[in-house]
Amino acid sequence: MLVKQISVFLENKSGRLAEVTKLLGENDIQILALSIADTTDFGILRLIVNKPDIALEVLKENGYTVSGTEVIGISVEDKPGGLSRVLEILFKYDVSIEYMYAFVGKITDEALVILKVDRPEFAIKVLRENNIKILDPKDVYTM
């Protein structure tokens, strides 16, 4: 039930992000979610795309340092407190969150969230036990 995220190493130089998105576009790969973690020198671009394996290949061929990372996609009620419930559950079970970002889906009026945690399989289990909706990778890639 894990979603494959593409992570790309980028230096903080203007135009680099545009190059990546252009490259993916030219290869008919659709970006579904995107987040950038920044430092003064470099950034890590994180992408959810419809064809992660092809995207990895294309980026590698073009000389980018990339990796595929397994993350969890969940949907939460789009109302105050919706996300905090999820975080409380993870905190209770001692699962730590490396990073997270939101994700605009087209199908529901729920908020979609990507989570990278230290113990993904366990996290899925406790979230499911607490009736949090885990997104199926297949559904994610076809959004």
């Binding site: 992570s7 190493f9 430092t39 020198d41 890590i44 994180r46 000389g63 990796s67 990278k116």
Partner: protein, 433 residues
Amino acid sequence: MKYWNEPVECADRERLNQIKTMRLIDTVKRVYFNVPHYRNKMQDYGLVPEDIKSLDDLKKLPFTTKQDLRDTYPYGLFATPLSEIVRIHASSGTTGKQTVVGYTRNDLTIWSEVMARTLIAAGADKHSFIQVAYGYGLFTGGLGVHYGAERIGASVIPISVGNTKRQVQLMVDFGTTLIACTPSYALYLAETIDELGIDKSELKLKSGVFGAEPWSENMRKEIELKLNLKAHDIYGLSEIIGPGVSFECEYQEGLHINEDHFIPEIINPETGEVLPEGSIGELVFTTVTKEGLPLIRYRTRDITSLNYEKCKCGRTLVRMNKVMGRTDDMIIVRGVNVFPTQIESVLLEIGDTSPHYQLIVDRVNNLDVLEVLVEVSENLFSDEVKKLEDLDRKITKAIEDTLGISVKVRLVEPKTIERSEGKAKRVIDKRKY
């Protein structure tokens, strides 16, 4: 047999210094009276032979460089009549004009002596079968080892370099116990042995003397494993005599310099100043027994340091550390000598693969700043900022611990560092003097 010439190799320092002093005084006189080039240079410095009375006076003398050899080509620095010269060798001359060196009969005896010490220290004796796979000819490697091997009474197999399958076959048939060649050729021999499907138990190899190119400790491990022998580094240069200037004993902790023939110094390559014991700098030699082509304070351009501690093997002959690089590769940052190879070994330890990196030196507010660019390869990359920042800190700390100065590490994308003809430009010096 443990030593070839125990009275010298294990002499106490005072005795060694006496020998060196006597010989130095004698050499300075000989070059002053026999070589116009040296006489003119000494006169320029206001020196007469009588000014050189002790080893400490050595630093008063002018340096000799490869350029001096080129400028006086072919025989301008020879100190004996050409009729006394019995052998001529020439340096490869990969850059610029080639240089010529000449030996009297006595010079060849000295050369055999220092090579005999080298081979004995590598575990050879008269029962050994020594396969000389260095090139014979104008290059000093082949004949240098050959005469040393004959001197100790070993059986010499003078096969020279090349014809690798035959080398391996003879190694098996003749029972070679010591192989002498370049370290890279040693690895090639090992591969060929595997390709030919020869079982290592058919080989009688015990040791090897490998030189004529710089090689790392990792390469030593590889050669020792693949050829099942003990690999000894040897050092030499044709200008000084050829192979046998210095050699490794069984402890492999630096190369003993035959300092009763060749007096070493370590200088700051920028200023020429002699550096205190243990400092890293350029190696300089003065030959004190050679007749044909004595050289005063010859600058080797090789960077190393000297260790005067008595070795576990019992030898007192000073040791030079494995050569770290050439003066051409060195940069001085805030008074500290920095070699790209130092950074490279730090990165190799952290990343486990050959890294692409570049050093950028600049001067900001009158202070040298060293920036190290490291390309983030897949095995270093993480999708978590925290881990990349940890990596950055880890590299920074390891480099600072190695160099003793602060640096700024910048992680960069692959292919950021320009490749020119497959060889990266390691240093960019932006300082304006």
